[in-house]
Symmetry: C2
Subunit: 380 residues, 2 copies
């Protein structure tokens, strides 16, 4: 199997767009990615579209209707918050198979049209949502408290994640929020589910992102080596065990398994990774995932955020885009927006938030119910 | 790229099961297919799950929860009535890529829980549904009338499709209906949208089907050659042009393009095909698709149904399972149920409805909004 490359990628600015449809946003992201690759929609041989809220409403085909229908195969994928990453991975598999040389991957979500409350019940167990214990904030609050109990992680340490990611997003003109949040502001914000205040929960926004994957042969033929980004690993993993309902999945185990498989596929270790876009759906999650992705030992996540090493300028910047906490989290778009962010850094095109000298980075998403996708990207 | 084989496949009896969930039905179909292959769920390396109604509710993962979670990648695909065929094709691509040797593909639909009315609006243009012109029966009624105008096709000829497919399903213990429908009964049934009476419309049922795809290497290693079925072609196609909304797709063009590509990939022609399971969502559609799939010349579909050649015992039996008209049409399950039917015939295991001597067959589905999938299967 020859290598697969990202040769074009972009995203729309995340925000609240009640008047924009999934096809409108998805088509814009696709056009931006096509422009980035200097290709047209007629060059694409297949479309993979990740979306959650309207997965059963032919989202990919509607995007093609906007872009100019060409009759290519369209596959709609749904894997909760990993829907976009799943679409990207299916595109990668399709290139690997040798069937296609150029595949468009789009992730998109219109959160404002009724999806906001879906978190409570999308695992098919509505009772949990009704009684509150199965909502995402309460679940990640519990996971944070478990971390505190085991390792003494403090509220301040969780809050620092939000401070860092909001700071990062001040340098990202595609982020929803672009303001600093001093730690007092984060800690004094409305309490959602202890220890999570409102500023420690990801932002519900609408958005879309796109990436074009390409075979090695075609990439060279098109002369796109200069900006091509190699996919060194693409892993999708579901939970090997779920206690009693799918929403209560074990986000830790599934991430550890996926990260381990990704490092193995890429032939690299955590020390080789120079930036990470990880699934900070809540501030507690970012600290858990430091340990799950192996960038610090178990129990050291609090110390790692204290050290500043995961801030831009540190040893391994995490969520330089602003992350889900401040850039925003349009479910189906997030996985591909992460790809865009890491690709932009390893291409050295990230402007003020550029991770200096970055050549290799990782993306990570988890979807409740359950999926975890990890990708490792490297400058070709 | 080496060949890909179906080494196990089965389906649950289609019917109305208001108390059964998608995970319940999907898991049963998966277990039946695993039993057919004499393999266990732990042998599967990935799951592709096609479903329409609950595509955004982690259907594949819920099935894995029932089967015994193993942590394998789970991908949920949604492509309207082609959702199951799309899942099967993604499994085929995954084997082609060399990433996996054994992949489980499941198609499932619970139609009774609110999906019945979805046909009117699932292309995202609810207005069409409200005014009636965009409902599926009226669309396929119009297409039938166009055939009548161009070629003089008669109401009797359309009705004969239903007579034939109901007859076939009397021999299929997995079909929803198992009774003969004399032509007078078909023509005198409640008129839905001229020329379609109720018995000329597909049956809304719940159901699930599963197929296990396998690499050539693994198939030989497992010693499964005796019953293995080779996938000679797998094509997915979207509409190259849609007039004004996706529900009004051009089912004819998309089928012609997909069939042409499938014949090319398989290196065979219509004369080589010995049975077809095609998308008889309405009686008019079957006649259209005779021409679209190339088994008769344009305008000759009426004569072909009159000739009896597409009936069991004829030259090229079509929908020997009973088809969507009588076996039933649980959207996401249909594509894989077709695979099961053709595989069963080329394995010579179809009992009373066996197409004598069949070695090669074709499956065809169209999904509004728009997708067409065509597969050609041959006894290994």
């Amino acid at each position: 199997m020859s290598d697969v490359y990202v040769i074009g990628t972009d995203m729309i600015r995340f925000g609240r767009f009640p008047d924009r449809s999934v096809e409108d946003m998805g088509a814009e992201a696709a056009l931006l990615a096509l422009k980035d690759a200097e290709l047209g929609i007629r060059d694409m041989q297949a479309l993979y579209c990740g979306n959650m809220g309207e997965a059963n409403r032919s989202v990919g085909q509607r995007i093609m209707q906007h872009l100019g229908q060409t009759g290519i195969p369209v596959v709609n994928t749904a894997n909760a918050c990993a829907s976009g990453a799943t679409a990207f991975r299916e595109g990668w598999i399709a290139i690997k198979s040798g069937l296609y040389d150029l595949v468009l991957c789009v992730g998109v979500e219109q959160m404002g049209r009724g999806l906001l409350g879906a978190g409570a019940s999308y695992a098919g167990v509505p009772t949990e949502g009704l009684v509150g214990s199965g909502t995402m904030p309460s679940m990640f609050a519990s996971l944070g408290m478990e971390h505190t109990r085991k390792y003494g992680t403090t509220l301040e340490q969780f809050a620092k994640v939000s401070v860092k990611n909001h700071h990062h997003s001040t340098m990202n003109d595609k982020a929803m929020y672009r303001f600093e949040t001093p730690i007092e502001q984060v800690m004094d914000a409305e309490m959602i589910s202890y220890p999570l205040t409102k500023l420690m929960c990801s932002v519900n926004v609408d958005g879309a992102a796109a990436a074009i994957v390409c075979s090695e042969r075609k990439m060279k033929q098109l002369g796109l080596m200069a900006r091509a980004v190699r996919v060194r690993a693409s892993i999708l993993q579901s939970d090997p065990y779920t206690p009693h309902n799918l929403a209560m999945m074990d986000f830790n185990t599934v991430t550890r398994l996926a990260a381990g498989a990704a490092y193995e596929m890429a032939g690299v270790g955590p020390d080789d990774i120079e930036l990470i876009e990880l699934h900070d759906c809540f501030a507690t999650a970012e600290l858990m995932h430091y340990e799950n992705l192996g960038i610090c030992a178990d129990g050291d996540a609090g110390a790692l955020i204290d050290s500043g090493e995961t801030r831009l300028g540190g040893r391994i910047p995490v969520n330089v885009s602003g992350g889900l906490l401040s850039k925003g989290h349009p479910l189906g778009a997030t996985g591909i927006a992460n790809i865009y962010e890491v690709a932009t850094h390893v291409r050295r095109e990230a402007g003020a938030r550029q991770v200096p000298g970055a050549r290799i980075g990782m993306t990570h998403v988890v979807g409740a119910g359950s999926s975890c996708a990890v990708h490792i990207l490297e400058k070709a």
